[in-house]
Symmetry: C2
Subunit: 241 residues, 2 copies
């Protein structure tokens, strides 16, 4: 992993930045780094581009590369990760709380037009409909409804889906879920939400819905996640160029 040239340099540079090695917030030129570390300009550029994408530095053509002032403040809200508070995968974790799953229902259904479209199904294909309640330390925080084409996963059982489907996939079929396309929004909670998530009538749910992909691009699952609003928290660093 870290034996790659640009990753090695990236690591070094991050350490330097965090230790305050550049009090004026201006980095040396790319050519300087290239000569100092005896690595190619391309490797320097690649590493700096990653830092820029993460918001740690700002590159200005004609001027130089500058450290984001907020990158030095440890207590900042700024944490440089495009992420929700739930790793977006099955591997939920949060402050050492223990994740749990309660299976609500497990059926095989005929897909709607939308599912056929979003999961790239043929006519006459069936999908699993899996409703689960996810918890932290026994406290429900999310109602998850997942739709998975049978052909992609013909041997699912209630036992399997009561645990992590993605882990099962990886271990038994060597398939990896590597990308997701999600839409984030919010809605007033309905009676079911209120009952299952312990919400008051005026408290909303967060919605995250969309498609998970295998690493060969196959749409694997359409998922509809209704979250207790206190668990909807998505951080995003965006370039407006």
């Amino acid at each position: 992993m870290a034996d790659l040239v640009y990753q090695q340099f990236l690591k070094t540079l991050k350490t330097q930045i965090n230790s305050g090695a550049y009090p004026d917030l201006k980095l040396p030129t790319e050519r300087f780094f290239s000569e100092q570390y005896k690595i190619s300009l391309s490797s320097v550029k690649k590493a700096l581009q990653i830092l820029a994408d993460q918001g740690i530095v700002f590159k200005k053509r004609g001027s130089g590369t500058f450290i984001n002032p907020l990158a030095q403040k440890s207590n900042s809200i700024f944490n440089y990760n495009n992420s929700s508070n739930l790793g977006v995968t099955d591997s939920f974790s949060m402050d050492g709380k223990k994740p749990g799953i309660k299976l609500l229902s497990f059926e095989v259904i005929t897909p709607t037009k939308e599912l056929i479209r979003d999961l790239f199904l043929n006519e006459n294909e069936f999908v699993y409909e899996i409703k689960r309640l996810r918890m932290f330390d026994g406290q429900p925080f999310m109602i998850e409804t997942g739709y998975i084409p049978i052909k992609l996963c013909p041997e699912l059982t209630p036992e399997i889906v009561s645990k992590s489907i993605f882990n099962y996939l990886q271990e038994s079929q060597n398939k990896v879920v590597s990308k997701s396309y999600l839409t984030i929004s919010a809605l007033p909670s309905n009676k079911t939400d209120q009952k299952l998530l312990g919400l008051a009538t005026n408290e909303p749910v967060g919605l995250m819905s969309g498609v998970f992909f295998l690493d060969d691009g196959t749409p694997f699952e359409y998922s509809d996640m209704r979250l207790h609003y206190q668990y909807l928290k998505y951080n995003t660093f965006v370039s407006l160029d």
Copy 2:
């Protein structure tokens, strides 16, 4: 713009993909493209990497590059943009609706500890507090509270902040807001929200709050945006690697 080699190639390739030039969803090899178009391998790689980041193709080392099946479905939910439905800047637009701003209040205040931290202020600096109501076709959809250090923008007036602050910045001071770090969440609406946004008591607000940066990395504004929940819609394409 489009006279760059990799951008030209990118454009060509997108057109080919959209016209169904690769019905088996497998692209030629990078070396093939390099020779066919007489451009360097690096340029091909750069363009394909962009397509991969946008979710249009999937690159698999050892196997090849494949078109995302959803990329061919025109009616898909999939639109390849990490974006909210409100360009994140002052230049709101939506289905040709006419944006409007109503200034609610315009003050100078002593910043809180959090503001000092997030805007990288020194002690004894003051900030503007600007409360505005944003509308589409006269219909309010967002309450925006912005905090801007006086030193960055010493000549703000009620007239200026009744329009686009970011546009004013660019035109009068040649400063550009180019990045943002935002946290997205949701909350039950309070009385003020309900009154200003026309919400029922059980209807929530979406929250987008965080910092906007100038292109030299200066934190320019801390903004707190409370949206009518129907306008909170954020699309995100994520690699889980």
